[in-house]
Symmetry: C2
Subunit: 197 residues, 2 copies
DNA sequence: CCATGGTACGAACGATCGTGCTATTACTCT
DNA sequence: AGAGTAATAGCACGATCGTTCGTACCATGG
């Protein structure tokens, strides 16, 4: 790996951390250069535009998301255990990024009214995420754990709602009971989806 | 009412609309002055700081929120009808603000990592909102419509989660089925909360 | 060992940011 | 109607934004 490629990754990694605090639009070349010890122009030369930097941050973050959340969860047994793992790893993800919350959640409300390549890319990533949830749930249906008449896409939106409400109550409102309520909500969702015994 | 007070309200009203598109931090004195036909310094004189403008926007928006969402819903019969009215009016609110989504949702993820008076004020407004939901639900318990062992604060977080998931799927992902799923999720929440017959 | 090219720097650009001053205009009240 | 005050404009400030350019460094392959 060339030297330039290495520092590029260092920059993108740092930018990802910053962006989960201030959003993708809040990224600035200047402060990012100060963070990484580079000059403004030296850093800029790696991307040629701020938009390109934002796109690379998005790519980097979604690759990490797959590594830290999706892939580990897929090792769990199909059905309910796998759904719970997905949930737990998402929690860890959104707390561990230097406790700066989930970059995607922050970017979602920031970009939903600003058309362009960055918004398109974010929408793709989030569609993939919801589809992952839906697929994992659908597998649980095939396994006979969940009701055959359950709607995977409904479940995906419901589950993400639980996550978003947690993110809101926990990060903005500092409510210590937010996580407990989120786990309770997950239990209820799963209970309602299980085949009647 | 003095002339200054009148133009101040005009400015804040315009700023509120802009902010639901670009966020509170995305507000700029310059572009806002252009929008309202004032000079930059003329507009600035009404607020003396950008932060003060942001706070006034927050106040204005929350007053309108109470007028358009909370107060009308309180006219509905207690319990389930009132919850549904709250839900419906919130939908209308977040669609009608020139179809720019809910200002509070946008500001929530924007400010959750930026301490200061604006964040504090937003947190207060959102706490009030969740408390409103919880209180409306609790009234339904007293009325005997909802289970006595139900937790109003749990319900509030759950319901807001449904709203946030709708906001996300509808505004970022342009999913036309988002609303239908949200209504379905509400039905399930209410069903689970009703006293067993 | 030297030449080539990738890598980073410093300076500067026009624009725009929030924020002060100082006039001048416009309203309000007696 | 005129005095006094409130409201707005004009201009300028230092900072910072993204971006460009020319140049120096330094690592690597011949």
């Amino acid at each position: 790996m060339s030297k330039g490629e290495l520092t590029r990754q260092t920059i993108v990694d740092a930018a990802t951390r910053v962006a989960s605090r201030v959003g993708l639009g809040g990224l600035t070349i200047g402060s990012l250069a100060a963070d990484t010890g580079l000059s403004k122009s030296g850093l800029f030369a790696h991307f040629n535009s701020k938009e390109s930097l934002q796109l690379q941050v998005l790519d980097h973050a979604s690759a990490r998301f797959v590594d830290l959340v999706v892939r580990p969860a897929l090792k769990a047994p199909r059905g309910e255990p796998r759904v719970r793992e997905l949930f737990d790893h998402w929690f860890a993800w959104c707390r561990d990024e230097l406790s700066a919350g989930c970059l995607f959640v922050a970017a979602a409300t920031e970009l939903d009214d600003q058309p362009g390549p960055v918004r398109d890319q974010l929408a793709k990533v989030q569609r993939d995420w919801l589809e992952t949830i839906a697929t994992v749930f659908a597998t649980g249906i095939s396994e006979g754990q969940f009701r055959a008449d359950a709607d995977p896409e409904q479940f995906a939106q419901d589950l993400y709602g639980v996550m978003l409400a947690y993110h809101h109550a926990s990060r903005l409102l500092d409510d210590p009971r937010a996580e407990q309520r989120a786990r309770r909500a997950l239990d209820r969702l799963l209970e309602a989806a299980r085949v009647p015994s």
